[in-house]
């Protein structure tokens, strides 16, 4: 109990003093996860919207595979990306292994199925309800998908947050492909694992608190934005 209390106090001191090591790790984590989520959101929105409005043979199988990928363990993603980027792998010529780029690729691969699956669901629901009217106006299925993705942007904010949350909290993939090198590829989750094993609990706990704080802040921000958008939509919508 004393150890927990002491570690907590020391962690708060590190945060309050903006410890340079802590700040650099936090900054790397945030930029990595933001970039991976950003790429996944752009690519995933197009793919999800396309999947929502497309009808083709084998679509059910694609959706089943996509849903399976939602529960993919991050270490498996790390392993696959590791094999792809290793010297003998098909992408070995890039020389990305144990770099920020490798971690970015791994996190993007990890969160992309989440974005595609959730965007697909949101856009498909909207398409089932308004798709016919958009077709009547002259929009083809693909354009309808993109218009509806834009129209459902408040729901897509939740998708973005889910993607960022999954990216920033995962440890397995970045550990495998990044190598947890201090000053280069060490992020919050890999640092927590390492510092805990070394017994440096204050830094581990400080990083843990920052991680929680970041997620809490994002949740509050999202709740505020959604409430504002819903209020704007609901205003004056009575008969």
């Amino acid at each position: 109990m004393n150890s927990l209390w002491d570690s907590g106090v020391a962690a708060l001191r590190l945060i309050a003093e903006a410890d340079p090591l802590l700040v650099s790790i936090v900054w790397r984590s945030l930029s990595l996860s933001a970039a991976a989520s950003g790429i996944a959101i752009v690519v995933g929105t197009f793919l999800g919207a396309w999947l929502a409005v497309s009808r083709f043979t084998g679509r059910g199988l694609v959706l089943a595979m996509l849903n399976t990928l939602l529960s993919l363990p991050s270490v498996v993603v790390g392993l696959v990306v590791y094999l792809l980027l290793s010297r003998s792998g098909p992408l070995g010529f890039l020389g990305w292994l144990f770099s920020f780029k490798a971690m970015l690729l791994a996190q993007t691969v990890l969160v992309l199925p989440i974005v595609i699956a959730l965007v697909r669901q949101v856009v498909e629901d909207a398409y089932n309800s308004h798709g016919e009217q958009l077709r009547s106006l002259g929009a083809g299925p693909r354009l309808s998908g993109l218009l509806l993705a834009w129209d459902e942007r408040s729901a897509l904010l939740t998708v973005a947050l889910a993607a960022f949350g999954r990216a920033i909290a995962e440890v397995g993939a970045v550990m495998l492909v990044g190598g947890n090198m201090e000053g280069f590829t060490r992020v919050m989750t890999t640092s927590i694992a390492l510092e805990t094993s070394k017994g440096d609990l204050p830094l581990a706990m400080g990083l843990g608190l920052v991680l929680l704080g970041v997620v809490l802040l994002l949740q509050l921000l999202l709740a505020g934005v959604r409430a504002w958008m819903q209020a704007a939509d609901a205003k004056g919508s009575t008969p």
Partner: protein, 236 residues
């Protein structure tokens, strides 16, 4: 003199679901829509009115039969519960014009003109989802008319409106110069707006008459007992 035919529906059958052997929403329906006609589709819920409108508009494929368009016809459809996107009302209208090939800047200008001439200039900058049901219906009608259609299809255009909005929509529709096909439960409205009435029951076309004969009870009874019972039941 027969007016030019805009649409020719030939023995169209539409299934309720894609499943083989599913019940029919439209059963061997044949008709022609001529230029300048104002055709009312009447019948109970589930009689096939909306399905027929969707077939005419090309949104629903028949399982058999076909819809022939002798010449290309610019169409627009007003749905029973129209949807506006989360854009400004002006941009909602501009989008429909842009989708028909108009440049975005011109489309926005034209949209504003249309809204102002429809008495909706004050809502042009409001978001589409902020409007009341009546305003939404009026904006959707303005959006359909902005496309300058030769054929206007309306699915229960005043079903969920208050009396004032109903009057505005009806007046706007009355002044539409082109051909019109509309589904309605309101036989008073059918009398006011239609020149021809088609009665549907369980997906079958049972009566297709000029409006004055449709509301002639004796004539209708001789022509179609089902249609006569429907009209009598509606108290007209």
């Amino acid at each position: 003199m027969t007016l030019p035919c805009l649409l020719h529906v030939q023995d169209v059958r539409v299934a309720l679901t894609p499943r083989h052997g599913a019940p029919l929403a439209l059963d061997s329906v044949s008709l022609q829509i001529h230029q300048g006609e104002r055709v009312a589709l009447v019948g109970a819920n589930g009689s096939g009115k909306s399905t027929l409108l969707r077939v005419l508009h090309g949104l629903q494929k028949p399982v058999s039969g076909r819809v022939i368009q002798p010449k290309p016809v610019q169409q627009a459809m007003l749905f029973q519960r129209p949807v506006l996107l989360r854009l400004s009302v002006q941009n909602n209208l501009a989008l429909s014009l842009w989708l028909r090939g108009m440049a975005w800047r011109l489309a926005r200008q034209r949209a504003l003109q249309v809204l102002e001439s429809a008495g909706l200039g004050d809502v042009a900058q409001r978001r589409g989802r902020q409007l009341s049901v009546g305003q939404t219906q009026r904006v959707a009608l303005a959006r359909a008319l902005a496309l300058e259609p030769q054929l206007l299809l309306l699915d229960e255009p005043t079903a969920s409106l208050d009396p004032q909005s109903k009057r505005v929509v009806e007046t706007t529709v009355q002044h539409f110069p082109g051909t019109m096909v509309f589904a309605s439960h309101n036989l008073g409205q059918v009398k006011r707006l239609a020149t021809r009435v088609i009665y549907l029951e369980h997906g079958r076309l049972l009566a297709d008459l000029p409006v004055h004969l449709f509301f002639d009870q004796a004539y209708l009874l001789a022509h179609s007992a089902e249609a006569a019972i429907f009209v009598k039941g509606e108290g007209v």
